[in-house]
């Protein structure tokens, strides 16, 4: 009869796992969650920026491990003189595993003097932050940073 002694414990374990699975599903089943893929992020990028971005010039300052997914501090700096003839036109920020990939777009110009923006963003889970900068000469530059999220900001 040892098996019957073990049974309740096993069942409890299963329940716990089911509960965890249900929690995960609650996040995943949020509307639009089906779009939360790196493919959707790439598609949005293609819609926002018409030229293929090259790696470089963009620096993303974001914690490697974000404890609170509701407010992850992000600083984006683009290497540019911000002169009337050579400046950053736009900075786009994208997350590749949020319910929707878009985070924010910023329109800049020579009046800014320095191509840097700071914001706080939500992250539903661990994922990549992708930044693309559009320059006045028509080129686009990109950088990606991975962020591990301890508590996701998915439904809170």
């Amino acid at each position: 009869m040892t098996s019957s002694l073990h049974l309740p414990r096993r069942r409890r374990g299963l329940n716990r796992r089911q509960a965890l699975a249900a929690l995960g599903a609650a996040c995943a089943l949020a509307p639009g969650a089906a779009d939360a893929t790196p493919e959707a992020a790439r598609k949005l990028l293609g819609d926002l920026v018409k030229v293929a971005p090259k790696a470089g010039k963009v620096k993303i300052d974001v914690p490697e491990i974000a404890e609170n997914g509701n407010a992850v501090p992000v600083t984006v700096t683009v290497d540019s003189p911000m002169s009337p003839t050579d400046y950053v036109r736009a900075i786009h920020i994208i997350a590749d595993r949020n319910p929707q990939p878009g985070v924010a777009s910023f329109m800049l110009g020579p009046d800014n003097g320095k191509a840097e923006v700071q914001l706080r963003m939500r992250m539903a889970e661990s994922q990549n932050v992708i930044v693309v900068a559009e320059l006045s000469d028509g080129t686009a530059w990109t950088a990606t940073r991975e962020v591990k999220v301890t508590v996701g900001g998915c439904s809170t």
């Binding site: 509701n70 878009g102 003097g113």
Partner: protein
């Protein structure tokens, strides 16, 4: 969450001509993402600040288009090259067409 929507602006003091300074902005707003459900399991409709515009003496100097992935009480900072004194005007627009404005003097020595 508070429904009291209040903008806050921070501009450095003692700016000299040609200085590049950081302008910090924050507006208290729930930024309801449209992903959350209420106690009855019904979706709470999306209600976010989707746009912020900044002008100096009427000339646009910064514009932000925001998505639900922006945190509540959206904080944004940007830089400005100060060549002239004047007035900075900030406008935030939310999904319901709500318009929130703030102004701040820019004094360049």
């Amino acid at each position: 969450m508070s429904t009291d929507i209040k903008p806050r602006i921070r501009v450095p003091q003692g700016i000299k001509r040609g200085d590049v300074v950081e302008i910090k902005t924050l507006i208290t707003h729930p930024m309801e993402s449209g992903q959350r459900k209420d106690a009855d399991g019904k979706l709470i409709p999306r209600m976010i600040i989707n746009r912020m515009n900044v002008t100096l003496n009427g000339k646009p100097v910064f514009e932000a288009r925001l998505e639900p992935a922006m945190s509540a009480n959206p904080y944004l900072s940007f830089f400005l090259k100060c060549t002239q004194s004047g007035t900075l005007d900030f406008t935030w627009i939310d999904d319901n067409g709500g318009l929130y404005k703030a102004s701040h003097p820019l004094t360049v020595a």
